[in-house]
């Protein structure tokens, strides 16, 4: 159990700034995810916390003690790697005992902890196997047990599931989440998979170009993005050009009253596909009304996506539980409503100007 505090952490490679003054406070026992595309700096941040890389500026503080001067092997941080990094020359039990031996614990305790850790990751009975005989998912379970066995103050995970196939990924992520909850260990998890981030995290930090774009709970990140990048990276989002002028919002040839204070100028209107309303507009409240032609229908099982061509640009709409005649919609025209309560407006710098929710 430990609280992690990061202040003004910055790092550059030659002239490229990979981390731009990162500030984070991660509460004890929290499952905190760094989410972003490759090259956003999330792995660099994680490896800097672990001590494999060094920042140019800033502090890393665990429970009030600065750790950024310590070498990696003295930080007491457990790490799980993308490529598992299981020692191929050691058996499963020897892998898990590896870190315990460095701590010169009594033999009986090492044995107990190895057994306990393997049971936790459901690898009981595999003690004497060699990693080469095991599947990718099992190897990552060894990696997890190995990191947990030393009972570290922090657990760092660097895309631990990205080398596994889809089904296994979901199964193992549930296990990781359960074990983390049970032990209450402060965990920092790196991923580029937004669905994975939403599923496991207490809080998420969306990163882009070395910057923390938004920090919040999965709900906040998905439903209340405050930066255009977070809105576009997590889930699907429609972006439609719009304009604010004299208290009115203009979209295509449509306009409606939109009290937005002093804000004015060219903007982007953002709305999730599941919030786009098709057909009769009774009872939907106020919104931008458009007409569009269904260009393409994509059936996904429990939902279908319509790609609609409108005067304001292309809009994706989601239809839940599509009925059998959904495909017949292709080429037809439909009424579209973008409910004001569900839209968000972003300015040219990607900052949130206003959401429609207050209305």
């Amino acid at each position: 159990m430990a609280e992690l505090r990061i202040q003004g952490l910055a790092k550059s490679y030659r002239d490229v700034r990979v981390l731009e003054s990162i500030d984070l406070v991660i509460a004890s026992g929290e499952f905190f995810t760094l989410l972003g595309p490759s090259g956003c700096g999330k792995t660099t941040l994680l490896r800097t916390i672990a001590g494999f890389q060094h920042q140019d500026r800033g502090e890393i503080v665990v429970d009030g003690v600065r750790i950024d001067g310590k070498p990696a092997h003295k930080r007491d941080i457990g790490m799980v790697f993308q490529d598992y990094a299981v020692f191929p020359h050691l058996s499963v039990a020897e892998n898990v005992a590896f870190g315990l031996k460095a701590r010169s614990l009594p033999k009986s305790e090492i044995e107990d902890r190895v057994a306990e850790s393997l049971k936790m990751v459901r690898l009981d009975g595999y003690q004497s196997r060699l990693p080469a005989e095991m599947s990718g998912g099992q190897q990552q379970r060894i990696g997890l047990a190995r990191a947990m066995a030393i009972r570290p103050t922090l657990l760092l995970m660097d895309e631990p599931l990205s080398n596994l196939d889809a089904k296994l990924r979901i199964e193992l992520r549930e296990d990781i989440r359960d074990i983390q909850r049970r032990l209450g260990i402060t965990t920092i998890y790196v991923t580029h998979d937004q669905e994975e981030a939403l599923a496991v995290s207490d809080r998420i930090c969306v990163m882009h170009k070395g910057r923390a774009e938004q920090i919040g709970t999965p709900f906040e990140i998905y439903r209340q993005p405050v930066r255009r990048f977070a809105a576009s990276f997590v889930g699907t989002m429609n972006f439609i050009p719009a304009r604010l002028e004299g208290g009115r919002l203009f979209v295509g040839s449509q306009s409606l009253a939109f009290p937005a204070g002093t804000a004015a100028g060219e903007l982007e209107l953002a709305i999730r596909p599941e919030n786009v309303h098709l057909g009769a507009r009774e009872g939907q409240g106020e919104g931008v009304a458009l007409r569009g032609e269904v260009r393409k229908v994509t059936f996904l099982g429990r939902e279908a996506h319509y790609t609609l061509a409108t005067e304001a640009g292309e809009i994706i709409a989601q239809v839940m539980d599509p009925s059998a005649d959904f495909i017949a919609m292709e080429g037809r025209s439909v009424d579209i409503l973008l409910p004001l309560a569900k839209i968000a407006l972003f300015d040219r710098d990607g900052n949130l100007v206003k959401t429609g929710q207050a209305q």
């Binding site: 092997h73 457990g78 790490m79 993308q82 020692f87 990191a147 030393i150």
Partner: protein, 554 residues
């Protein structure tokens, strides 16, 4: 305040290794080779700067013939090895051939036996008093002796094809079968597919092995010397000029050496330039399948494969067989006897001990420094290590005979007068084989993800301990296998030792060479058999250590 986190220059173990590596290569590689360049630009009599030796190359017929012959030997050996090697690789990877381990073993036997033994064995069979030739003459068939260009190319082809075979079969086994199936489904017939899909895909492997066999062929000294007779190449011409009975012509020998190095360099860079784009990466999803064939076709394929490897291994069998024959000078008598071995033990056992001692010394040094340098190159990339890596390319293209001449010219006088010592032979072998070891360690380290060391560090081990506990155990089999292969090449080193030896420091390959030249075929056979036995033991151990991967033998 905690110390600022800027990347400062830190003086650690690896800095020391870097400095030592540079010092070693400057002393044992750059400095000796510079003596050759210098000697080639100086008039032997006056000691003044002169281009006379290079002018001679373009005016004297003998030197032009040597250059021409070098090309003939190089391309001839390359072409022969390619035909045999690619054919064997194709037959064994694409068709079900019985006794595959036997084929591989025979190819390895051909690979590890030194080329001059091959040359000598073919003389025993088809030389002036060759057994087969005499046998054929007795039933009225007369064929010319094997000496000359045909013999040289024959020996090179049969000696070097295993390189091509091992490299090419690796590439053939790594072609995704779906790619070939795709070609077939697009309507390309199998025979056409071979040339439009399969060959282009393995072209990098073929050209790499072609380059290797060309460089090996033009660098080889023993074969043209023993079986070539009047067929002089640059390596033999340089040796003759250097060790000539009438004082020699060190300037001319040096100029020819420079030409030989430049030739190798052109080939190496030419191959790199040709292949600058032709590297294909593919995710291996489906491994190629071996086709089952029956009847006459199966018989033909088996005959083809076994003929190739049998001819390759034939010299080895001949040498072993004839070491037990009764001899009288160059003539083998009917009947078996251990007289050749008795003679070796009683009169010429020194070379055996010298060979073991020199090889052990050189290989110990190679393994230790090669491991450290290999780690430096792969895990501490910088300008200094990058240029070190480039410098390590040089021994690949400098023939042994040239290295020998360079060493004897540079280390003849103070400050480092080493001529006549065993140390100079050891150092020549060391610098010639160091790059192989360093590069194989660097390659082995590429297989060990750096995350493994990070994992150990995160579990509480210091970086030094993490290296010892995780990385070293993982690359140790590779290091030992590489060391044993260095031992094999060290034991079989002829050309540099031939320039550097004196009576006391004679080695087995030199003794065998001299015995062949003197017509003492019995002694040569017995010594060769002993050398082959030692070689086979080392190779078998290396094979075992490396998990039976043939690639460890290259």
């Amino acid at each position: 305040m905690i110390r600022p986190m800027t990347r400062r220059f830190r003086f650690d173990l690896w800095t020391l290794v870097l400095i030592a590596a540079w010092a070693i290569l400057l002393l044992l590689l750059v400095w000796p080779l510079s003596s050759i360049l210098r000697a080639s630009l100086i008039d032997n009599e006056t000691g003044a700067f002169s281009l006379v030796h290079y002018v001679d190359i373009f005016t004297v017929k003998a030197y032009q013939r040597a250059i021409g012959n070098t090309f003939i030997a190089g391309f001839g050996g390359m072409a022969g090895a390619l035909v045999l090697g690619v054919t064997l690789a194709f037959v064994t990877t694409r068709f079900r051939i019985m006794g595959r381990p036997l084929i591989q073993t025979l190819a390895v036997v051909a690979l590890v036996s030194p080329p001059f033994i091959g040359a000598y064995a073919w003389i025993v069979l088809f030389g002036a008093s060759g057994v087969v030739r005499k046998g054929l003459a007795s039933i009225g068939i007369s064929i010319p002796p094997i000496y000359g260009v045909a013999g040289v190319i024959l020996v090179f082809s049969l000696k070097f094809f295993p390189h091509v075979f091992l490299i090419t079969s690796g590439a053939l086994a790594a072609i995704n079968r779906s790619v070939e199936e795709a070609a077939e489904s697009l309507g390309v017939p199998p025979w056409k597919r071979l040339f439009t899909v399969t060959f282009p895909l393995i072209l990098p492997a073929i050209s790499a092995s072609a380059l290797l066999t060309f460089v090996l062929s033009i660098a080889d000294f023993g074969t043209p010397r023993i079986i070539g007779r009047d067929f002089n190449v640059l390596a033999t011409e340089a040796f003759n000029l250097f060790a000539g009975e009438v004082g020699g012509n060190p300037g001319m020998a040096s100029a020819l050496s420079v030409v030989l190095i430049v030739l190798s360099m052109i080939v190496v860079f030419g191959q790199r330039w040709l292949l600058r784009k032709n590297v294909y990466y593919s995710n291996l999803i489906k491994k190629p399948e071996q086709q089952r064939v029956k009847g006459l076709k199966s018989f033909g394929l088996h005959l083809l494969a076994y003929t190739i490897v049998f001819l390759g291994a034939l010299p080895t069998f001949i040498v072993v067989l004839f070491s037990f024959r009764r001899t009288n000078g160059p003539v083998f008598q009917p009947g078996l006897s251990l007289q050749s071995y008795e003679k070796v033990i009683s009169t010429v056992s020194d070379p055996i001990w010298n060979t073991l001692l020199f090889s052990t010394m050189a290989v110990t040094a190679i393994v230790i420094s090669g491991t450290l340098i290999g780690y430096l190159i792969s895990r501490r990339p910088s300008i200094a290590t990058g240029s070190l890596d480039a410098l390590l390319m040089i021994p690949y293209i400098v023939p042994g005979i040239v290295m020998g001449i360079a060493f004897i010219t540079r280390f003849n006088d103070p400050p480092l007068a080493l001529t006549g010592t065993g140390l100079i032979i050891v150092l020549a072998i060391y610098v010639r084989r160091l790059p192989y070891s360093a590069r194989s360690v660097a390659a082995a380290l590429k297989q060990v993800g750096p995350n493994l060391e990070d994992a150990a560090i995160s579990l509480g081990y210091s970086p030094g301990k993490a290296f010892l506990k995780v990385t070293v155990p993982l690359i140790l089999p590779g290091i030992l296998a590489g060391g044993l292969m260095s031992f094999v090449t060290a034991m079989n080193e002829l050309s540099s030792s031939l320039v550097l030896y004196v009576g006391r420091t004679i080695t087995m390959p030199v003794r065998i060479y001299l015995s062949v030249m003197d017509g003492e075929y019995g002694t040569a056979s017995a010594l060769s058999t002993i050398l082959l036995t030692m070689t086979v033991v080392a190779v078998y151990a290396a094979f075992h250590l490396s998990g039976r991967k043939e690639s460890a033998l290259l």
